[in-house]
């Protein structure tokens, strides 16, 4: 009977054998990481356009088609994609990607998260009691994720394990090399007001104080009262307002004008098909914006 099983196994493997490992990443930052670590052993497709809010996508049929043929899905995780990824995986009818299987990888599950264990109470907004999911904005955590991803890829393509590990190491080295310059650039930075808690990891990593958020609670657009309170609390201070490109401009602009602070609109994800350099350039942009006039 074992021969039967082995035969069946071989047959199925032969049918599904492909030149490269098919990886589907939810966001372009995850796509960058999969490409960087996987090199030419992987083919990467990204589901979410980088100018979109990954909270609010819909499970589109094209996502299901991509997931149907995938060997590995690389998600940010911690419920960031909860509104669409489970439905897309369900619709793809590809059991290899079920959570718990090697084909399902969440970045947030590989690193320590901030804001873990907050109350699961939606009067506090669209909260993530599992922790802040936006780990892609911390290059150091991304380097940790790269190592974990290298291990996962090694499980799927054992013959390329050494290459994956070397690629992850190279990425971690690049991050490490830039870290001192980033820290130096923002030392003495006055602090930032973000629109959403989507860049907290970066601010925390570089020691830049987060002075407030434009939205009153996560997932709710700014109210006049909240903006007035924010401006009142911050009047007389120096700082910078940064919003992600997909956020509405009005609220952040109001705060920036009232306080006479600079306002920046930056993408949270690198362009589609970005390499590690493009991702690090994105972090450069954020660092430059957070630094303000600090010298």
């Amino acid at each position: 009977m074992h021969k039967w099983l082995a035969g069946l196994l071989l047959m199925c493997l032969a049918v599904t054998a492909q030149a490269s490992l098919q990886v589907v990443a939810t966001t372009s930052a995850m796509g960058m990481l999969a490409q960087t670590v996987g090199g030419d052993a992987v083919t990467v497709r990204v589901l979410a356009s980088p100018d979109r809010d990954a909270h609010y996508l819909q499970a589109r049929p094209s996502m299901m088609a991509a997931l149907r043929g995938a060997d590995l899905v690389v998600a940010v995780g911690a419920d960031l994609e909860v509104g669409w990824l489970p439905a897309a995986i369900q619709g793809a009818a590809n059991p290899a990607l079920n959570p718990g299987r090697p084909g399902y990888f969440e970045a947030a599950a590989q690193v320590a998260l901030i804001d873990v264990g907050g109350p699961a109470d939606r009067s506090l907004g669209d909260v993530h009691p599992a922790g802040n999911p936006h780990v892609n904005m911390d290059p150091v955590r991304m380097a940790e994720v790269a190592h974990a991803l290298a291990e996962r890829l090694s499980l799927l393509v054992p013959e390329d394990a050494a290459r994956f590990r070397a690629n992850a190491e190279a990425f971690a080295d690049k991050v490490e090399a830039r870290l001192p310059a980033w820290q130096a650039r923002v030392s003495g930075a006055p602090g930032v007001v973000f629109y959403h808690k989507d860049a907290d990891y970066l601010a925390l990593r570089l020691g830049v104080p987060v002075l407030g958020y434009v939205e009153p609670v996560p997932g709710v657009p700014p109210t006049a009262r909240h903006l007035r309170d924010l401006v009142r609390d911050l009047t007389g201070r120096d700082g910078i307002v940064i919003r992600a490109v997909h956020h509405a401009e009005r609220g952040p602009r109001f705060v920036a004008q009232q306080l006479d602070w600079p306002l920046h609109a930056l993408p949270l994800d690198p362009p589609l098909g970005a390499d590690a350099e493009a991702y690090l350039a994105l972090i450069d942009q954020w660092v430059e914006a957070m630094a303000g006039n600090a010298r």
Partner: protein
């Protein structure tokens, strides 16, 4: 190893159920027995707020205020039978959605979902109103079938068309499209049975499905069976078989479209309307079989602005049904003929501002509308063609967050009646809906 002691049939069954093993990556194959043992959960699999072992629970509470401020319409001509409210003839109170004038607690929908084990996921949706608990859906789906196959078994909303499988809270309008309500039933095509779908590995998305269903939906597979003086014979289930195909080209990040075809055949259609009291005494029955076919299309545009601002959804569906029956009116000899009816709706929703949506919908029912006369006193006993009924709706929806919505809708109803007159009416509906519990993922 335990497998060694299993008899061959049992081992084969296990192998079938666990088809995924055959797809296992070659990873652990150097370890003895690795291919036969589920891989242990790899450290730090997934971070989620779903609670361990308890099913995920969500509750959706739906309240509606209705005011028919001008006119009142009954049942559209030609659709009196084959519909739950058919026996209300003469006093068509609630035309369809069961709403009364004034405040309505329409439902609380309670959904539990969980993985049963390595092989199955399960879902249970209870539909609670003030007096009743109904099982809206209760089914298991397979997790591990290979080759893009999935099996669903239990009681479920059929996946034919687009809107049929959606729950009330997924709709962009307060009420169900007429074609879905009158060609199928108050809950659409909702049946007990089993469904097999196949999602091939193609560059664009496609899914093909086959459903074997018990056949109880009043509009297409009404079934009464032998008994209580009914002129029917028993027919065992499954009595309804449906098939569907959905195709979706890849239109990039901003656009999405899906096109579907569906078909169904019921080998029994049995309906009776006996009234032995008073002046209106009659005994009517319909006995035969039925089929339906339909097309559906949906297009969505994602403008990429915040909170749905600038997004479009356009969708439409058309269905036709034919019921081939012997119609008996009291003791007269039966008349054999075919009732042919169809209907469609087209709707579009546009995000006029962040969190605000404006929608319009047009319903037409019975462009072809040949059916038996339902009520006596007409001096007929056969088939007749009726006029077309129309309904137009416009609404405005405000979604403070993903978890609540406020909706105002105006309906203009222009129904044909059986005497070839029009019945006109205007109604306004206000809806308030909230979702508690886990964050559900919406299908396309």
């Amino acid at each position: 190893m335990a497998m060694r002691r299993l008899p061959l049939p049992a081992a084969l069954l296990l192998l079938t159920l666990s088809g995924v093993y055959a797809q296992e990556p070659p990873s652990g194959s150097t370890l003895a027995g690795a291919a036969m043992t589920p891989l242990p959960a790899l450290g730090g699999e997934r971070v989620s707020s779903g609670s361990a072992f308890n099913p995920d629970i969500s509750v959706i509470i739906d309240t509606v205020y209705l005011n028919e401020f001008s006119g009142h319409v009954g049942t559209p001509a030609g659709f009196g039978g084959g519909h739950d409210h058919g026996h209300d003839h003469g006093h068509d109170h609630d035309h369809g959605h069961g709403l009364e004038e004034g405040f309505n607690f329409r439902s609380a929908e309670l959904t539990f979902t969980a993985s049963v084990d390595h092989y199955f996921d399960a879902l249970l949706t209870l539909h609670l109103d003030e007096d009743h608990v109904e099982v809206e859906e209760a089914y298991i789906t397979t997790r591990n079938l290979p080759a893009g196959l999935q099996i669903k078994a239990g009681k479920f909303l059929s996946d034919i068309g687009y809107i049929n499988a959606q729950h009330t809270h997924d709709w962009a309008f307060v009420d169900r499209p007429l074609v879905n309500e009158y060609l199928f039933g108050d809950h659409g095509l909702q049946e007990k049975g089993v469904q097999l779908t196949w999602t091939p590995k193609t560059a664009f998305y496609s899914v093909f499905g086959l459903e074997l269903l018990q056949g109880e939906t009043t509009g297409i597979a009404s079934y009464e069976g032998h008994g209580e003086g009914k002129p029917f014979s028993d027919k065992s289930g499954p009595r309804l078989i449906t098939g569907f195909a959905k195709l979706a080209p890849d239109l990039g990040h901003n656009h999405a479209a899906q096109f579907g075809l569906s078909y169904g055949h019921a080998r029994a259609f049995q309906l009776s309307d006996f009234n032995d009291h008073g002046d209106h005494s009659h005994r009517l029955s319909w006995d035969g079989n039925a089929w339906f076919a339909g097309v559906d299309a949906v297009y969505k545009y994602d403008a990429g602005r915040s909170f749905g601002h600038g997004d479009w959804v356009v969708q439409g569906e058309y269905y036709r049904r034919e019921i081939d029956v012997d119609f008996r009116n009291n003791q007269r000899p039966p008349v054999s003929d075919i009732a042919r009816q169809d209907g469609l709706y087209v709707q579009t929703v546009y995000g006029i501002a962040p969190r605000w949506q404006f929608g319009v919908r047009a319903d037409a029912l019975g462009m072809t509308n040949r059916n038996t006369l339902q009520w006596m006193g007409h001096g007929h006993q056969g088939y007749e063609s009726f006029g077309t009924s129309y309904r137009y709706a416009a609404n405005l929806t405000f979604r403070p967050t993903e978890f609540s919505l406020l909706r105002a809708q105006v309906n203009r109803t222009d129904f044909a009646d059986e005497d070839d007159h029009d019945e006109d009416g205007w109604a306004v509906m206000l809806q308030f809906q909230v979702a508690l519990g886990v964050h559900g993922a919406h299908r396309f």
